[in-house]
Subunit: 192 residues, 2 copies
DNA sequence: ATATATTTTGAACAATGTTCATTTTCAACC
DNA sequence: GGTTGAAAATGAACATTGTTCAAAATATAT
């Protein structure tokens, strides 16, 4: 059932997800969807939860030997996920809850965890800086990468081809690291 | 009537905009809204059009004497606009059209024009690089700024206070420019 | 003043999230 | 096997909301 909802979101976007379609595809009644997820938001959030879980799993799997390479890997992995599951990511970031119910804590935590994955390599690259400041830098870098990817893939706005985007992202990460005073060559070979 | 719709979006978000509310507030019938805008999307797009127009107007007004200062000004102006009109900007970037009707050409052009405002100062700062490459850099930088701001202001995700965000943005722009090999002090004083 | 065109209206319709009394299913017990 | 009571599934009915369109109201022309 979650599978079905995810498929519908992935192929046609969140807007085209209908309770009745899910129920019919799952060969059950409308009421059963409500018994399972409480309401429509509950269904969407369940899909979103799995989306961020899948994303985090991929990001965590990025090798961490070399911090610079890790940062590139995180950006590339994020891009690959976004390119493969554009609608699912949009559902995660753009869906507003009914009324103004609070965003579920656990999803928030997982997103934060994903954000924080850039923290460790950044600390390694900037051992002398205040860790709190580095945390902000990491979040900022993640946000920047997110922006580049999400706007870059936006079809409405003349999307950049993924391969082109991959190059741009790599360039962006390098540029930013250089700007932070990190020597790319050194980091890529030596230490650890 | 546009005014009313904008007010409703701005205060409660796009999701809470209802045709009936607009009609009632405008003291006219539901049908009149349709006569004026064709359909619901038409109304939203009209508001979005004015949003991007207002944003562009503010960005264009940023002084262009010094390219580095201009880039900072553009980022700060964008932040100020986003902080003041978070829901309107979200409506512009997140609204999906019914079915899959194409995104209106004129709005697309205006957004592109806004993107392109970073192009000129970047060309001035990187006179030796291929202008096409610089255009990509500019778009990338705009996307990064957009990402930092939109995620930064996202209340669901523990929003960064705007003042803090302002500092971070300035730092980001500086860092990126340094990474591109641009001397900030020189640029800030000399040449033109 | 009449006729024609234009605009406005809002009741009716369609799509869709939601509820809940009813039915069905299932498990436990005698 | 039959009885009983809890648990789960059902889908008709409802509420909200975008949309349509024949009719009414208004404006314009002659």
């Amino acid at each position: 059932m979650i599978e079905i909802a995810r498929g519908l979101i992935a192929t046609n976007g969140l807007r085209s997800l209908k309770v009745r379609d899910v129920a019919e595809a799952a060969d059950c009644s409308i009421g059963s969807v409500y018994n399972e997820f409480g309401d429509f938001d509950g269904l969407i959030l369940t899909v979103n939860r799995e989306t961020v879980r899948a994303l985090t799993a991929r990001l965590v799997a990025v090798p961490a030997e070399d911090p610079v390479r890790q940062l590139h890997g995180l950006a590339e992995t994020y891009l690959a996920f976004a390119a493969d599951h554009a609608n699912l990511l949009r559902s995660l970031f753009e869906h507003r809850m009914e009324d103004d119910r609070p965003f579920p804590e656990d999803i928030l935590l997982m997103v934060m965890q994903a954000f924080a994955l850039m923290h460790e390599p950044m600390v390694r690259l900037l051992p002398d800086r205040n860790p709190e400041e580095v945390a902000l830098l990491a979040r900022m870098m993640f946000s920047a990468v997110h922006g580049i990817i999400s706007l870059g893939l936006e079809e409405r706005m003349v999307a950049v081809p993924p391969e082109k985007l991959r190059q741009q992202l790599a360039q962006f990460v390098d540029t930013h690291l250089v700007g932070l005073g990190i020597s790319l060559d050194k980091a890529r070979d030596g230490e650890v």
